[in-house]
Amino acid sequence: MIVVIDYDIGNVKSVCNAFRHIGCQVKLSNSIKDIERASGLVLPGVAAYGYAVNALGDTAKVVKENAENGKPLLGICVGFQLLFEESCEHGRHKGLALIAGSVISLPKKKIVPHMGWNLVQFPENMQLFNNFENGRYFYFAHSYYADITDKEAEIAYTDYGFNLAAAVQKKNIFGTQFHPEKSGKQGLKVLGNFARIAERGF
């Protein structure tokens, strides 16, 4: 069973709906027992970074431990940004530090937020994109982005005047800056790939 971490932020339901739609068993919960038992964890996020960190509270430690012990974890949008060490959105905030890197504001040369459907290019071995043709559109909505410094991380990019990290994988830890639950059929396919990774174990 996939557990979507329930913390006091917006739009956690959409992720659950999307998993259900593709026939996956999913539970919205923040109980330690459920997190321990889960085959995979999803950290969603429609919130400002600082708010999300506070709302996640002690659950952060449990999620981090489980991920460090090999449980597949998927962070989405702000949940993806939480995988890194810190963010400077409205002040400085510490993240889960599962992947080396920091979250910084998008350059104002282009329109901010980066909002809408953008083309994503990924390296071949990224498991979230199993059975994908390269260069697909996904839905983005964010004003900050991850500057990833981790040598072990595989990174998918989109072009927003520079190479912007669209998705990441470091062993069993996955993240998408875009919203797979809002990216139509392609997005559902990404969630399906994560569900399969969770099912068979990493």
């Binding site: 959409s14 709906n17 329109i111």
Partner: protein, 254 residues
């Protein structure tokens, strides 16, 4: 490259989608969930649901509607109409909306924009502006509130700039003069606002032909085009719109 977005708008009254001309003479256009799911399947980039009654009673109905839409629609959708507080934002986002649009409440209490941005992130704060062309001064527009029924002295361009500073992440810009006429968007209005702000602007009001969409993007510099009449009554499919734009060199997710 970021694709230009095609966004059908569903004005909701008593659980039905309706569409009027210049905000009046409403016609029934169908079931919101069915229409929404249909547009999602056809390749719409986003949806906007506006509760045009926006009463206390309709607030409950719209939350239920958002939940049903979210179970069936896997593209982003914005919900607006009668949103007044952070609690309303929270309730609608939790029900599955991606973004929330505010108009009247933001005019009366601009801090709502910054409070919402701080809590939910500015990407989900949409400022809806209903703009009416000034009769006295050329190329000047005033903000109207309360579903277009109450004109104000506020200048649209100034208000857009202020809203961006406060934390709005997007502007849904409706020309009340063009709305429902199918005679084209007000691209002078679109250009005036897109030149003034650095957040995405959705052009709304007046779409009647495929060329109108192209003009809003190229002449109006809009990041997205919103339409209702021409899709609800099956004049054009989403695919036709995207194909037309693509053939003319506009990046779209097709």
């Amino acid at each position: 490259m970021l694709a230009k977005r095609i966004i059908p708008c569903l004005d909701v009254k008593d659980n039905r989608v309706v569409k009027g001309i210049n905000f009046l003479n409403l016609r029934d256009a169908g079931d919101p969930v069915e229409l929404g799911a249909g547009y999602s399947d056809q390749g719409a980039d986003e949806l906007v649901f506006l509760d045009i009654t926006a009463t206390i009673r309709s607030r409950k109905t719209i939350v239920e509607l958002v939940q049903r839409v979210a179970e069936n629609v896997f593209i982003p959708f914005t919900v607006g109409g009668g949103v007044q507080t952070i609690e309303h934002f929270d309730q609608l986002l939790r029900s599955g909306a991606e973004k929330i649009s505010v108009n009247t409440a933001a005019v009366k209490n601009p801090q709502l924009l910054s409070e919402a941005a701080k809590r939910f992130g500015n990407q989900c704060v949409v400022l809806a502006i209903d703009a009416r062309r000034s009769i006295k001064i050329n190329n000047k527009w005033n903000v109207c509130i309360k579903a277009g029924s109450e004109p104000t002295d506020i200048d649209v361009v100034e208000w857009a700039k202020k809203a961006e500073q406060l934390g709005a992440g997007e502007i849904l810009l409706t020309s009340m003069d063009a709305d429902g006429t199918k005679e084209g968007y007000d691209n002078e209005l679109n250009r005036a606002v897109t030149d003034a702000v650095n957040i995405p602007v959705i052009a709304s009001g007046g779409a009647g032909t495929l060329e109108h969409l192209y003009d809003a993007i190229v002449k109006g510099n809009a990041d997205a085009v919103l339409m209702a009449s021409i899709t609800h009554f099956q004049n054009y499919t989403i695919k036709q719109m995207k194909k037309y734009l693509k053939e003319r060199g506009v990046p779209v997710n097709l």
